[in-house]
Subunit: 172 residues, 2 copies
DNA sequence: TTGAGTTTTCAGCAATTACTGAAAATTAAG
DNA sequence: CTTAATTTTCAGTAATTGCTGAAAACTCAA
């Protein structure tokens, strides 16, 4: 289920187990529950740590390493998005930028650059936007989301207000 | 580059070529340009059609099938999101729902359900929201995005207005 | 209806990715 | 320092996924 987030099946299973568990787990718990080899679990946990999806906990009087998932699901979502951005989005943007500074050698090249420019703009805009939104309080985000498409009405209303009071709109 | 959208390397390359090309291409063009076997290209194109990322075009006086990418990048983004939703998000939500109607057999089960409930809410909320936003005009979306986090100010302002005029807010 | 041009299918091979067990490394208590 | 508990590494193997060429199927013009 949902192995399309850049992590593979087993790592996903390990994460799911940690996510639903009522208390932190250690590697043997996991290997035991899922019937994976101990080494497989070790690698999986490393990967989950790299994605910052699990937190390492040391329990008093126990040398073993315990892992747990953040309690707040929105937190999880943010980590995932951040890592995905760092690993995939940013490298893509860099490559596009590199291609855009080349001098086009033909009509076709020039056209390709135009297309890459469009793609760059879209990706850049979305990721910057996501970054911004991420910084809002969870409540504000929830409010924004619950509004759905009626956000348009609010934007329109705001524009009108600004016109009336003689202020310039931010957009355009 | 960006093979994490659920399509593999070769399919990605095929798409990139079609995307930047100034005019529609046919399968042999692609096989030739990328040095893939004809069958590989055929399969790749099938997949791109399934994702609705390329459009089939029949050119007059030529029996071959030509393919091109939508001109509007936002269109591309929407197709991708829609398909991803249909293929990954919806099945995930169904599985979560199925797990949520089970009667928990233990404390641990009950806790697991609580967690799954949280996850379901988050995913459901985000995907419904995306659906809603998708229906806005490209300009409205662009405006919303360019606003970034200052959208909060607008929401706050709106709330105030509603209080003054005695109307209930939509949120909460 | 035939056949040339074109696309699709698929069995077999290649490449990649994932998993295991055993051994090595690390860690902390005694 | 030693030792036992624990984690990590890694070579070998298993499983999965991707690619190819050849043959089959399709399609349209004549």
């Amino acid at each position: 289920m949902g192995s399309r987030w850049g992590i593979n099946r087993t790592v996903g299973q390990i994460y799911a187990l940690i996510f639903v568990a009522p208390k932190p787990l250690h590697a043997d718990d996991i290997a035991d529950a899922l019937e994976f080899s101990r080494s497989n679990v070790s690698i999986g946990l490393k990967e989950l740590q790299a994605w910052r999806l699990v937190k390492l906990k040391h329990l008093a009087g126990d040398r073993r390493e315990y892992f747990e998932a953040p309690q707040d699901v929105w937190e999880i979502f943010k980590s995932l998005a951040e890592e995905k951005r760092r690993r995939e989005v940013e490298p893509t943007l860099s490559m596009l930028r590199a291609a855009l500074v080349e001098t086009p050698g033909s009509e076709a090249d020039a056209h390709a650059q135009k297309r890459m420019q469009q793609m760059h703009e879209l990706i850049d805009l979305s990721s910057t936007w996501f970054d911004d939104v991420q910084r809002l309080s969870p409540e504000t985000i929830a409010r924004l989301m619950r509004m759905g498409s009626s956000v348009k009405t609010v934007l329109d209303m705001t524009d009108k207000l600004k016109v009336v009071t003689g202020r310039k709109t931010k957009s355009n």
